[in-house]
């Protein structure tokens, strides 16, 4: 264990931690853009810098390991001033369209500018002027909003391991992009959206069908209904509609999803959803009430059981339904109808 002081507070921590980790463990929050627990620390954005007594410059807390006896200040005047400069520089090359930006309310640049009281573009310098890449069906990329934190690139390389994107050009023009600017659609991108979920600003955004502000949505944690990985999801719900999905943290998916889990949810509100029971009359399926449907089913069940016995029934339960429903389905067949003819598509 190592002992150090952060903002006057004595802290004990393990030796293989970074300053940022030690601070966070002590409940002190430090701003970050490029840091992500799941990724190798990268030190690209420098917003996390702190003051360390006896060290001349301000080191990035996310890449600097703790050392015995360190005295650290995370919000000294010098630190705050340096962060304001970083934010001002970012802002001077950022389209100031928070009013219509979909990320508003969950944008780190917006949050930190508010926190550090950085109002406008004081440098008035040149701004990016790149075309927006909307070639992927599920998300769009606005390079003009990219703050070059490289999170997306590292997520795609280190976690998703697809390696579809990288940094293009040098100096002022550096931005995330596709090889030869060919556009997302033409890369080997698998549309998992893991880069989109990680982007701290509005550069990578899902193409939303419905307009909503992040503060208007309720968040419900649940489990993906597609494959057996069972990824944890957060459904964003506005006015009884699912409007977006974010990956859940922790097991089993650690913040990752695939294209189906991330973007494949619009079926929920599709017009084709069955909204009433249907009963076949004169050869055709017609809308009916639950009462009608149930009465018919019960009559047929009783008739069939009386005439042919319980083993004339067969049921397919569902690998798509919940445990509770599968349990009830087999109970209906075994305890109520009286047959073990229950199976499901485990083999398909």
């Amino acid at each position: 264990m190592i002992s150090l002081t952060i903002n006057g507070q004595k802290i004990l921590t393990e030796h293989n931690k970074t300053i940022l980790e030690a601070a966070e463990a002590a409940g002190i929050s430090v701003p970050t853009f490029c840091n992500d627990k799941r990724l190798i620390p990268h030190g690209a954005c420098r917003i996390c810098l702190v003051e360390v007594e006896g060290v001349k410059n301000l080191p990035a807390s996310c890449t600097t390991p703790v050392a015995e006896g360190m005295v650290i200040r995370t919000h000294s005047e010098r630190v705050v001033q340096a962060r304001r400069e970083i934010l001002s520089l970012l802002l001077s090359n950022h389209p100031l369209d928070c009013l219509t930006c979909e990320k508003s309310g969950k944008c780190k640049l917006q949050d930190y500018c508010y926190e550090y009281d950085v109002k406008e573009d004081i440098y008035g310098g040149e701004k990016y002027n790149f075309p927006i890449d909307a070639s992927n069906p599920f998300y769009q990329y606005d390079p003009n909003k990219c703050i070059v934190c490289e999170k997306c690139v590292r997520v795609c390389n280190e976690l998703q391991c697809t390696g579809a994107i990288g940094l293009n050009e040098r100096g002022f023009l550096t931005h995330m992009g596709t090889p030869f600017e060919m556009g997302m659609k033409h890369t080997n991108c698998v549309s998992c959206g893991n880069c989109v979920s990680a982007c701290p600003v509005g550069a990578l955004l899902p193409k939303n069908k419905e307009k909503y502000r992040l503060w208007q949505v309720a968040t419900v944690k649940t489990t993906c209904a597609y494959c057996g990985v069972g990824c944890q999801l957060e459904l964003h719900v506005k006015e009884d509609r699912v409007v977006a999905i974010q990956p859940g943290e922790g097991s089993p998916n650690d913040g990752l999803l695939c294209v189906k889990g991330k973007f494949g949810y619009s079926f929920i509100h599709h017009n084709d959803r069955l909204k009433t029971p249907l009963v076949r009359k004169n050869g055709e399926l017609r809308e009916a009430s639950w009462k009608e449907a149930y009465e018919l089913i019960v009559e047929k069940m009783q008739q069939t059981k009386a005439t042919y016995g319980a083993d004339a029934f067969a049921g397919l339960t569902s690998a798509r339904c919940t445990n509770e429903e599968n349990y009830l389905f087999q109970k209906l067949f075994r305890a109520v109808i009286g047959t073990n003819n229950v199976d499901h598509c485990a083999r398909l």
Binding site: T223, T317, K331, L332, H344, L348
Partner: protein, 539 residues
């Protein structure tokens, strides 16, 4: 899975066989690649040059249906070079001698011939697997959907035991289960011979336990599997079917046969969220709700029971499946009321030892991996930690057998089927997501460019694919992903459905159909002789 998804990153060898992981279990695919980045060795065996083959240290492109030969060949090489885990075999397994005897004839040369790979690659892959400290095997339907599926699973288990990879972290035998809750449906007794928790019907004690709990007399007569149900329905012996959330009219082999069987029924109920191809045949269709409209639990492929939470109101008059089932039970005179799925889970945990300690309350923090016998039990990340469940790990020697239907003069090509990244099962859900359809919206068949040329077919051309059971029209997609004379079709698409062609020959033990191998021929649509050939798909 004997082991957990989290453990993948610490494996030092990963062997993927019969699983196109990056498309079908994408997040597990990503984790396998993460392990590879951290230095794990990767072996991939598959009839298709799947995406993961790029990352593999050894890729074995085997002929469809030859898994067991390959697995036996790998074991032969391991024993030949003395690389097996002698201590583990001596203390934790039995029947090794019989295995060693039986494997003698599976020389790499002979196996290479059967599988269509190089003998040296088999030797190398065997060495890598055997030298792993923590070597995990991952497989899916590419192993099981064969007439020899059960034996394939046994061969995998033999290999894992041989190198002491059962009962430790980051190793194991890891079937990747397809649907979100196929694990749970099995756990809950959605099987003709098992009550919840795999408690066997043939045990009088089990029957008595459930009779007491449910307060009824139960039948101990084993039920029918899906293929048997369909056969009996076609024969007029099954009169009434209730299908909840499944679409056998697209997903099951030999769709013509499925249709005949379902049409023969007196009464068919289908409960689903869309009017699926199967629902269209029903007498009554009951509208169920999607996962976003109900509470409950799913159990994932690593046995993790996780909460599903209601986020929105049911659409229209749709009802949660559990409500419908409960109401029907009540109307049938079985008084049994639950106010919330939580209460159903309490009943499940009282009757299912593996779920004994599971409640919605506990799950609200994090999912729990069964076995979890008590309220205090933390769950089980990997199985067999304290020895194999049945005592000693049993080696069961299995022989390679050819698939039920092999190519011949009339049907000279092999068709194998599977899924793709952008769709799920029969597309009732993904087929209604615009972006997914933009990427992929029609059936196609993968053909090696050389085979395509032999038959005079161009990329993107519509052709007929014909088997003894049916004929479909699909687009050609020329690719070196498949070898010459092997075709691949995704089965998702109702139009041009691969399952019009597939063979319903089944594995005698697990009753799983041989969806991965059947014999077909291909024809150009403008073929002048086409009318003289089998063509009921056109009728």
């Amino acid at each position: 899975m004997t082991n957990s998804i989290r453990e993948i990153e610490a494996a030092d060898v990963i062997f993927v066989i019969g699983s196109n992981t990056t498309e079908n279990h994408p997040v597990i695919g990503a984790k396998i690649r993460q392990a590879k980045l951290k230095g794990a060795k990767l072996i991939v065996a598959d009839p298709r040059r799947i995406d993961l083959a790029k990352d593999a240290d050894y890729f074995l492109q085997i002929k469809p249906g030859t898994n067991i030969a390959l697995l036996n060949g790998l074991m032969h090489c391991i024993i030949d070079e003395g690389l097996q885990d002698h201590e583990y075999i001596r203390t934790k397994t039995e029947n090794f001698k019989a295995l060693r005897e039986q494997l003698k004839e599976y020389t790499p040369e002979k196996v290479a011939e059967i599988c269509g790979v190089e003998p040296e690659d088999i030797r190398q892959a065997a060495r890598i697997y055997a030298k792993g400290e923590r070597a995990g095997i991952f497989y899916a339907m590419g192993i099981t959907q064969h007439t020899t599926g059960t034996k394939g699973v046994m061969a995998i288990s033999n290999l894992a035991l041989l190198c002491g990879n059962v009962g430790k972290t980051s190793a194991g035998v890891n079937p990747l289960r397809g649907q979100n809750n196929v694990q749970g449906a099995c756990d809950m007794g959605g099987l003709p011979g098992d009550l919840p928790g795999y408690q066997k019907l043939h045990s009088a004690e089990v029957i008595e336990k459930f009779e007491r709990a449910w307060n009824v007399r139960l039948s101990a007569k084993p039920g029918l599997t899906i293929p048997e149900m369909l056969d009996k329905a076609e024969a007029g012996l099954i009169k009434f079917m209730y299908i909840m959330g499944e679409n056998p009219m697209v997903s099951d082999p030999d769709i013509q046969h499925v249709q005949k069987a379902l049409e023969k029924l007196d009464f068919l109920i289908v409960q689903d969220i869309f009017l699926s191809e199967t629902a269209a045949l029903a007498d009554v269709v009951l509208p169920a709700v999607s996962f976003a409209e109900k509470d409950g639990t799913f159990t994932n492929t690593e046995r993790r029971v996780q909460l599903v939470r209601r986020a929105i109101q049911p659409i229209g008059q749709a009802k949660a499946d559990w409500k419908i089932l409960m109401e029907l039970m009540n109307l049938m005179g079985y008084p049994n009321t639950y106010h919330h799925p939580e209460e159903i889970m309490n009943e499940i945990s009282s009757l299912t030892p593996q779920y004994g300690g599971i409640s919605h309350d506990r799950l609200s923090l994090e999912g729990i991996q069964w076995p979890c016998p008590t309220k205090e039990h933390p769950g089980t990340p990997y199985l067999h930690k304290d020895g194999i469940a049945r005592g000693l790990g049993l080696f069961v020697p299995v022989e390679y057998e050819a698939s039920a239907e092999l190519p011949d003069g009339d049907y000279p090509l092999v068709l194998t089927t599977g899924r793709i990244l952008y769709h799920y099962h029969t597309r009732t859900m993904t087929g209604r997501v615009e972006g997914l359809n933009q990427i992929s919206n029609e059936a196609y068949v993968e053909i090696n460019p050389i085979t395509a040329e032999k038959f005079g077919m161009r990329n993107q051309e519509s052709i007929y694919v014909i088997s003894r059971r049916g004929k479909v029209t699909v687009k050609v997609y020329t690719t070196k992903t498949v070898e010459e004379n092997v075709l691949f079709m995704p089965f998702h698409f109702a139009e041009g459905a691969a399952n019009h062609l597939t063979n319903r020959a089944i594995d005698n033990i697990a009753k799983i159909p041989e969806l991965k191998v059947c014999a077909v021929r291909i024809e150009k649509i403008d073929d002048p002789f086409k009318d003289e050939k089998l063509s009921f798909g056109d009728l």
